[in-house]
Every structure is written in C-alpha cells, then in structure tokens.
Subunit: 331 residues, 2 copies
Amino acid sequence: MTLPAAQRRIVLAGRPSGVPREDDFRMETAEVPRPGPGEVLVRTVDLSLDPYVRGTLTGRDLGHPPIAPGDLVPGRAIARVVDSGAWVVAETGWQEYAAVPSAALSPLSVPQGVPRTAVLGALGTPGLTAYSTVTRMLRPAAGDTVVVSSATGGVGGVAGQLAALAGARAVAIAGGPEKCRIAVEHFGYAAAVDRHDPRWTEALAAACPDGVDGYLHMGGGAVLDAVMALVAPGGRVVLCGLPENSNEVGTPAVLPAGLLMRTRAIVYGFVVYDHEDLRPRFLHEVGGLLAEGRLRLLEDVHEGLESAPAAFRGLMSGANLGKTVVRVAHE
Amino acid sequence: MTLPAAQRRIVLAGRPSGVPREDDFRMETAEVPRPGPGEVLVRTVDLSLDPYVRGTLTGRDLGHPPIAPGDLVPGRAIARVVDSGAWVVAETGWQEYAAVPSAALSPLSVPQGVPRTAVLGALGTPGLTAYSTVTRMLRPAAGDTVVVSSATGGVGGVAGQLAALAGARAVAIAGGPEKCRIAVEHFGYAAAVDRHDPRWTEALAAACPDGVDGYLHMGGGAVLDAVMALVAPGGRVVLCGLPENSNEVGTPAVLPAGLLMRTRAIVYGFVVYDHEDLRPRFLHEVGGLLAEGRLRLLEDVHEGLESAPAAFRGLMSGANLGKTVVRVAHE
C-alpha cells in the first residue's frame, strides 16, 4: 500500500451530556502514526461503534481508560497491516491509520460464508455478551418466556435468537414499529412490543401471559420497572452493561427489594469483561450457528469515517437498526 | 391423658401496625376442639414463634392463608397425640389443644442427644432457610467474607455457622452489644457489628476489609444499603423472607440497578417454600452436625401460652436472642 501524507482522525471535542451530539466530536487531520518498537501500522477498514464508548467519554467504563477532550475516540476495528496486508482485529480508535502493538492484534478469522464484520458483532464482544447472559444467567428452558430489550441491537438480536434456539419464547422490546417488524420477521421473536407506544406495558403483559422467566435488560429504568412487574417466580433478570454507558440523566433505575422477594427473582449485575473464559466456546458455537445459517446478522453500516459521530449518536439514541459499523476504507 | 373441660387459645384482636403489640392479641377460653373425620386431637407442648406469622396477620404471607381479627393465631408446634401419646410436629396454632388432620402430622424425629425443640429451629424451617440460602445462593468458598444480618436469630445463627464450616469468614450484624458478644462467643462469627451503634457502617467496613462476597439479608433497608456498598465483584446477596413479614412501615428497601451492574452482584429474592426439595439433605447434614456438636443451638424459651404475645413482640422488635419457643405444656 502507498501511504498518504496525512490521515483523518476523530477526537473528543467536549464531554457529552445525555445523548452525544455530533459536535461532541471533531475531525482532525494528523500525521500518519509512526509505529514504535513492537508496534505495526494498520489501516482501519471496518470500525465498530459500541455503547461502551459512551462510558469512556465520562471516564467510567470498567474495561477501558477514560478519555479527555482532544483525545482520540477509542474503537475496535477490522484492519489490515500496512506492511504485510494481513487482516487483523485491533483497537485502532476512530482514525484511518493506527500504530498498534503487534501483541494486541488478533488475526481475522471468520467462518466460511459469514461476512467479516460479524467479528465486530455476533462473533465479537456484543455476541459474547448475548451468549454469556443467555447461557450463564437467563438459562432458558423450553417453553420459558424470555424478554429482551434493545431487542434488535448488536447484543439483543443475538440474545433473542439464542433464547429461541434453546426453545424459549422470545419477546422483543424495541423502539418503534420498524424495529418491531424486524424483530419478528428477521430475528424470529415470537412477539415484539414497541416501547414508544403509550400503551406498551399493556402490550407487554399481553405478550407474556405466563409471566417473564428471563429478562435481558439494556437501557432505562422505565423499561426495567415494566418488565419486573411481570417477572414469574424464580425468573432470571440480567442487568446488562454499565449505566454510565447509557445516556440516562434522570432518576437511576432501582429494584424494589420487596418485589424481588415476592417474585424470588434472581438479578444479575452483568459486565462482559468477567466472561472472557467463555469466548472460545462462544466462538465455536455461535460461529457454527452463523455458518449453518441458523443465526442471522443485521448490520447498520455507515460509509466513511466522517459518518462516525452521527452513527454514534444514532446508536445512543436508538436510531440504529442492528450492529453499527462504519466502513472507513473499501478493501 | 385426661382432658380438661376447656382450653386456652390466643386469637388476633386487631391488625398490628408496625411492631405487633401485646393487645393485638387476646386470650380466650374455648372448648377443647373435637376432631372431625380424619383428624386427631393433639396437645401443644412447644410452640414455635416465627416471623412469617407477621405476614399472615396482614394477609400477605405466601405459604399461609391470611387471618382476621377473632381468628386463632397460626403456629407450628411439637405436640402429643392425646389418644396415643405419640410425639408429633403439627400446625396447632396458639392454643393448648388442636384437632389436626392425621395426614398433616409428622412424627417427631430428633438426632440422639439433640434437644427436641431443635426441630422448630435449626432442624426446622428456619434451619432449612439457612441451609438453602448458604448452599444454593451464598455458596461460600474458603476465605470468602459472608455477612449475616439478624445474625443470632433462628435463621442467622445457623447460617453463620454453616458459612464458617464452609471455610468462610462469617461477619455478624446484630442489634446490641449482648447479641454481638453471643455472635462471636457462641456462634463463632469472626466479627460482629452492632447496628445500634451510630458508627456501625464504619465498623462493618472495617470488619470486611476485602469486601463482602456473600450477604444474607433479613430486615430493614438501612442495613441493606450499608452492606450493598461493600459488596465485592460477583458477590451473592440473598433477600430473605417477605417484606410483609417485617414491621417496616417506612420507605421500602430498594437496590440501585447501577450498583448491581458495577459490582456484578447476583441478588436472589428468597422464599423458603421454594426449597422443600432440599429438606431431606438438610435434615441429614444439619442433623449430623448437631449430633456431632459441630453446630450450636440457641433458644429463647418462654414459659406458658400466655407469654406468646410478649414473646412475639420481642421477636419482631429484635429483643429475642436465638430461636423463640413458647413452652405451652411440660411433658
């Protein structure tokens, strides 16, 4: 590859309050980084946008260091090593070229017939989140009702399908009629409830006539309250992701202890970083399901690095549909 | 046995608000009940007082029907069948004689050398509560810190000892210096914290320098908040008993969802009625520990049926020390 004289990178311009705005970010022109000892230069191809980035912006994500205004926005990507052309997965951040430690690169490995970007979603950390919450915590049995919020997102789309494959009746909570349609038609949820509908809690109760045996919660407190009211005795509830990775600025979500006792629910605080031990089994099983066409992907692909701030705003405001990927280069 | 012409029974006089008062109950003289078809007459010997009775008084216990003013107060007891003299465990209620279905009697079975009243406490439902929360939920590993509230009560005293036998460091929360002394000297807790001390939360933090890996919660929201602030990543928290079985009238206890996510705690709503399947294993294991002298009992015995209302008030106000039993007859 021939290297350009300069590259583009996106830095944090200010600290977002609530849903990040496009002007919380700033595009810069910068020199192409020079790899130091033990580093290689990679070219970003497909950049993954993920909610954890919201946490790094306010300095409170558990797995990543905080960033300050002027810093490069972090991000994981499919990339190519400039010298060798090798395909890798790397922490490039939101930029066209990155100097990354060789030791931190993973070779890109995708099951035959599966799009490479699956490694950022269903075969990446969002997929591991879905797999570990379903297998370790929700543990759906045949006939169980499993509710998934943010049901068509990078985590939810996989979780709903895994629950259904385990024999459960998966019920989607999603924002808007289009997402509800996709939930049922594309991801195979038995029912979908539009949380923008003013009578959505009644619709949820109607969709779960035998109560809720498992609930994968991502998002806000109002949704949590509505689902908790339907939890069946012994139901499993997973609170997924850190609250700092959401935009919530109002009253934080709380669980009434009395309700937990009456329902004998089990509530799990979940952070995916604790479940790395499952990754090999996850890659084997979910990779197999994808290769066999038994698990479906949905990607929300945005063209060009310049589209990242708007795409991230979309992700954090619920405007995305499926796993958000920014195509930084065409390779 | 010769039957008296009349017996004494205690009925609900009014619905308690907060801690039950003695005048919420009324002693009556009544006829000795006449057994119907399939029933036998039993004489109450040792009556167990338990917090679940608080729930039946307000009609909200899961395992027992509600009672109304004028109704006999429910209760489990060691009793003797009048005709045969056989020792049994039965639901007699707070009265001297009861007609009970033969099918609902259990023969009294106590390991050699263990006081018979153990079947109401450490070998009864309080003990099953302790055993099932420790083995199924708290799952203490060697070196774990396990905190028990109401640490010297019928449930807590057993739970603390079972956690210590599993190799954990058991830390007691109890009300008053006398209970704290008993917790350490009699039950073998590694440390005890007096929640009546205004600086008790600091003492708790000092007693749990590596955080709290397991917490058996019984009681009020303020204690829950203080322990949750110390929960270690992956800590197990059991909310034991129904809130209606406590006297709490103020703001109900709540768990902040964000805290659960940050700590990756697992919170279990627990009601003992779900764990009857464990009873045979529990009786075998805990019976063995009692017979070997490896598990210690502590009983709070009150003399005479007339002492039941004051003893129940003591139980519900924290004045009890150990399992509360009323000796109704000397046999």
